[in-house]
Symmetry: D4
Subunit: 250 residues, 8 copies
């Protein structure tokens, strides 16, 4: 899309035509692309620039801050507003400022959608175990809000490899696969070897002892012998969904 | 492509028609898709199954083993044969069995190409520093052998952010960006914020002290705030190139 | 037992005889071996395939999910149903769906046994300290439900090596020894040197400071000079008990 | 300032003139520079010696201990008394002994200022995200109490690099810049490349997964290619503010 | 076997019958079970006590020390003498003192066998990649010297899961499986799910970047969802072979 | 003292004189030196064997278990009974079974002393900060119960090195110094350079960020250039006090 | 200095006056500030922008690359050209292209100075041990080339704290202190407590065992209680010297 | 001994009597206790102050530097001069300046003794394996030069616990025990439980895989349940010997 460059060229043209002077240009450059709430600079242009509205990670912010940012995005015309890692208090605070918002307690998400892009491509999302559910569904919600068709298969662990059989047909028609797994994260390697498209591994913090809060799954996915696997941060279903969307849009 | 499933269905059909019995079917399933050299099972079907021939990581193998595998791939009809992480001895051993092979000392690679797929898509590959060159060029060679057009920009560090300006036009027309960086790996975050397509971060082992052989760059890329960034293993330019190719083919 | 292969051969035979066609075969392959609860695929065939019913790790699942899985196992005819890492709420939820279930608060386990295999072999289970009790007893319960005779010795730390004397006679008649220890995990090395059978080390998260939640015990057991010691994950009494059972059945 | 040496010379002079004997000299040396509360030795001379009064880190101390130390500093004539990492209970306990004290719940600080030095120099303080706010404001309060003018810019993340534009003018007039960032900490590298003065990086524990409680940001800042960046401990806004003050006073 | 206890009881009986006094008994206890070479105490009784002669890890010892220990074991009547992690110099030194010894450069082992126990049980040993060969063959040699039948399958990586098909028949008839794998170590999980006997995982130091010299494979195997998997130290094929032997003897 | 050897010789003598037979001897060896509570083997002989009664680490045990062990030690005639890491509930449970017991909430200890050995030697105990108090006082209580004279200096941090002056006279007359410090643990190095006796470093978990729960202090003390410094586990004031006592008794 | 902003304003002015059009402006923005050697973009403007010419880290580059970059800097008019981490081969290659260059084998540096700024401020540089010399002298050379007066004190370890006495007078007149120390890095804390100016800690990789190649020194300096200490990467004397220079110039 | 304080008092007395003025006093304080070689400050007073001459760690120093320091110590009248971690070149360089010096290639030490203190106390030094020999003998040499009687037992591993029997009599008469062990370091725990005196654990870098260059042994010793164990740095036999000497002198 090249938003930044286009905008820069446009601005330079206006300057050249004498329509704006240097000081104003600098100010516009500084002032336009976000709304400054003091504690947050809400990126209202991201949807234009990168094809997806900014979403809000609630962790580390007060409910008031989250609600204010959500409202700013809504007022800024975002196609959808999504808040993740949101506990009950935060979800309630967001629903107050976005009356029509939906939420999902297990995925710890709350969202409101004004317009969802037309569907493009198919993302298959697979989890290794039931406990990976919250991350899986955060990914699903994000992708669906961005116009990606999602098929979900849960609890398809590698230790019972016959359970993968029912997933095979969907693997072969997917444009992108998201694998959500904790413990050893070995599912990413196995799926990587079966699929012919990009596979995005999402290590989760599910596990105990030597799983070290997701580090073992992360390392396992990074060292996978299946070279179609790339990896995102632990529990970052959100990011995986976004990349899956970008891939599907190409 | 769904090679595995198709093959399985075909085999089941033959079995059903009585053309093969169960014992033969099992044997075919076990025997067909690779060539067993004793110390290695060369995957001759990967090109059919996943659209790219198997490549050979030379590290940890003897020159004789590498040459034998390369020869088996060549005899198996691979579109191209690529050996990576190959020191001078290994490269010489490969050139002996593949007389027309080319090599690149800095990228530590040797390869022979019988047929390269038609070009699809554009991958922009950027490195943060001169020392990241070997990884960057391993990625470039791999991608070009798989039919991806590649544009390279070297030494575009984040600490002199104005150097990014000349890269911007290419970023905006890329279908996929590969960022190769050691030390803090911050280039991935900055490029991620500027590009509207998937960005694949390749942390490198370049650096000293607290860069811990690439771990810091790896962690930095994984925790990037730019959510279009996914990450591969340290120094794994090879894998990044493969995923870039898959994305471009969609 | 070879369940998977046998099943596969049988299915291929039916296909060959025209009794099932390829599509049905695939469906059966995909649909048979587990029961899909949506959030979980309950492995009802594991008892046939591997000689022990699937057990349920409660951590990371909601009480409702755990209870539903336990019920599915029970309805699927499992010889016994065991739920581990279960807090009071989960144990209550399970007892509601499995009215006859027993539980053990310290071992954080709840279970119901329809049929326990005949006893085979003797497993001696030893802990280094009182605080290792919960892991030790989780192991004991699992092994007993699978038909293994278990003798328990608690608080036999290495720093008072004379306490090992009373354990010696049992060590010499054991078919397998399970050593449960936190802190430095040194008990595994000492017992390994005294026993002539396989010793399975279970590092525990008991300890403080440089015990790093069980990591030091884990590393100590892995580097033991006694070469009859193998190791499982931190606090994984469950897995150790299962392997002890497999060894005893040979 | 050389307080220690000066004091030592003076004492030696008095000894030489016979005004104090060796035993008394030793006692004075030992007794003078702090007030011994039993559980704490309050450094009443630090303001003389290093130009800034001792401040109190509340973490790990009881509210009673904190209040007693704050009172001792106040009675010792400190220009200002600042308590950091103070929860509501501690802040209340301090306000009881320092009736005019102000506090700031988000920055978890409480303070009373008898006299603030004249303003010298400008410190620009920038945070990468809203969640870095508490650390940023702890730094701001500390610096202002020591007489440094502070300009604050919050939520200027690197993934939306255009947000930096409005900060550029302040960067160019700063005497010292403090960058507060969690996750990958990449903001320090980018700001380091834009500013021509010392930049102090404060990694924060903000983030999840592979951010490891601030370790990734710490490592990223330490390996920054911008060589004007130095680093303090994770979440140590306090220390950064103190060094910024020292730099501004030169 | 209970060697230690039996010996102790025998000694106590002699003492009781007045055949030895306390001082002599202590001396015998101290002096008997090993031969003191000054720098080494060679355990000549281990074969009696634990059913397998002591073997020699050459790493960290001088060639002269290794040769002297090998000779002492041979003179002490060991059924076989095995030296592992032996470079060419060490292997030559051993062959000099044990003229009939065999060696294997790739497995870095040298050995002489006077008598090998009768074969008991079947161990299947599988490696994920060609580079895992040295560890795999060290394991094979050790097991064969202890009387275990071994079947070897090399280069059966998880990313090409169809390669596992030819291994399935051997998996189902094995008494114990040894899985040798570097990188993500995922092969242990997959094999664990397919086999119904104990599986011993041997992580190897094969790999690069985030494989951290075998740590990732180690952690992956420890956190495997297949609960029949236990694990030994990185590259410790030797220990795995010993435990496989013990299991087969039960 | 050689308790074990003496006991063994005595037992062997009785056996030789026919006063006990082998079976009884084994039983006595096994049964004598501790009292078996089922979940704990209370070491009643440690005071004879090593000059100090066993103490009880409450962490990881239930209040009932702790009280039962304390009672067993008391009934076994221990000179003193000390319970450490004891929260209010545990302290109350102990006071119930040992009516005359004293306790100290900050040091989280409860104890009863029947007889304290005569004082031998002087241990100087120094902490770097007020927050190290609980560990320091646990050490002091333990040492005093074992008959060591203790002098305490709190909050003598290295950053205000003049505060060390008042400690110097005590350092020069100490038989052993215990240094309790968190953060960088640098106090151990400085005190090590000033004292001419053994210095025992106790790293504490006091600190934040890069202090990693005491790891940095631990590593700092281990790498101290003062070669009279040895180190114990993080927060292990208890162990340091015991070694100080042993040194003083020599 | 604000070079970037000034340049941007100037460019915008030219554009506004019609002297350059948008396309040319973009090109100039991209092309001006560095010289593109293909494998490196040499930053010729850094001296203008940040007051110090770019220096060259030789590690990871070929001698030819280093020499080419050094030559480009020299031809670009750099006040001085400094190459660090340069082995003998690299130093020779540089001396060939910069005939008048000086070098220092121990500091592994080679440099040529056309003009050195006038001296401003005093930096005192202190090392803990003789082995820290290479890092210390790299720092000294860099600072002197940038016009900073440097006083050096070597081998002033904390374990012999009396050795600090001779350094005290210099500490009190310093504008900035650089502390170079390996092992526990405790010297930074002690110097931090004695100096009233900013102290920059440079942890070195000197040490063994638990010093972990400089990590312990790094962590110790980061957690120093002296709050005037900031830290740079392990062995990064170069960066410390640069910041010391910036501080002295204010 | 209190050297520092005594010296300080003496100096103050001289000052009081007018025999020295303040400036001279400061100079003497700074100049006396060491000899400044430029790159090293040789501590000639340590023998007076702490009862043992400074020794020289050769690692990280050039042979010329080591020889110069050794010569300075010799000229300064040191009772003995000991150089450790010295390769053949360094040992030759030292023997050149100290013609009568002895050396030991395996312990990598070279030394010359003018006078050794009278023997006091007995240190028992035990190693777990033959490969720990170099560290063990470095400790022995250091202790003997300081006048400590040493008894050595090598290769007394915990996995063959019967080998400990011959060591028991020496354990019971020792004043201090030094345990040198790599791998899991478990020997320290077992010896700690058997000895009634202080035990100093020296973890060694001997081992492979999960022994992590001595880290596992270090952690194991730190978390030992035997509370008479203190620990020094990995491979630091030198420090352990020094503390053993200090204990024996009390």
């Amino acid at each position: 899309m090249g938003g930044l460059q286009a905008e820069l060229e446009a601005l330079l043209d206006e300057v050249r035509r004498g329509e704006v002077d240097a000081a104003d240009a600098l100010e516009r450059l500084a002032g336009l692309p976000y709304r400054d709430l003091g504690f947050a600079r809400v990126d209202l242009h991201r949807e234009l620039r990168q094809g997806a509205p900014e979403a809000v990670l609630a962790e580390g912010k007060t409910p008031e801050q989250v609600a204010a940012i959500a409202k700013a995005l809504d007022e800024g015309g975002a196609g959808s507003v999504l808040v993740t890692r949101a506990d009950a208090t935060v979800r309630a605070a967001v629903r107050e400022v976005l009356p029509g918002a939906q939420d999902d307690a297990r995925a710890r998400a709350v969202w409101a959608a004004r317009s969802v892009p037309e569907t493009a491509g198919l993302a298959v999302m697979i989890s290794a175990g039931t406990s990976d559910g919250p991350v899986l569904h955060e990914a699903r919600i994000r992708a669906e809000l961005l116009g990606t068709e999602v098929v979900v298969h849960e609890d398809v662990g590698v230790a019972g490899i016959h359970r993968l059989a029912s997933v095979l047909p969907d693997l072969t028609r997917a444009d992108c696969v998201v694998v959500v797994a904790g413990m050893d994260g070995a599912l990413a390697s196995v799926v990587g070897g079966l699929a012919a498209c990009p596979v995005i591994g999402v290590p989760t913090s599910v596990g105990y002892g030597a799983s070290f809060g997701g580090v073992t799954a992360l390392l396992g996915m990074l060292t996978s012998c299946a070279s179609n696997v790339t990896v995102v941060n632990i529990d970052n279903g959100f990011g995986a969904a976004y990349v899956a969307t970008l891939i599907n849009r190409i």
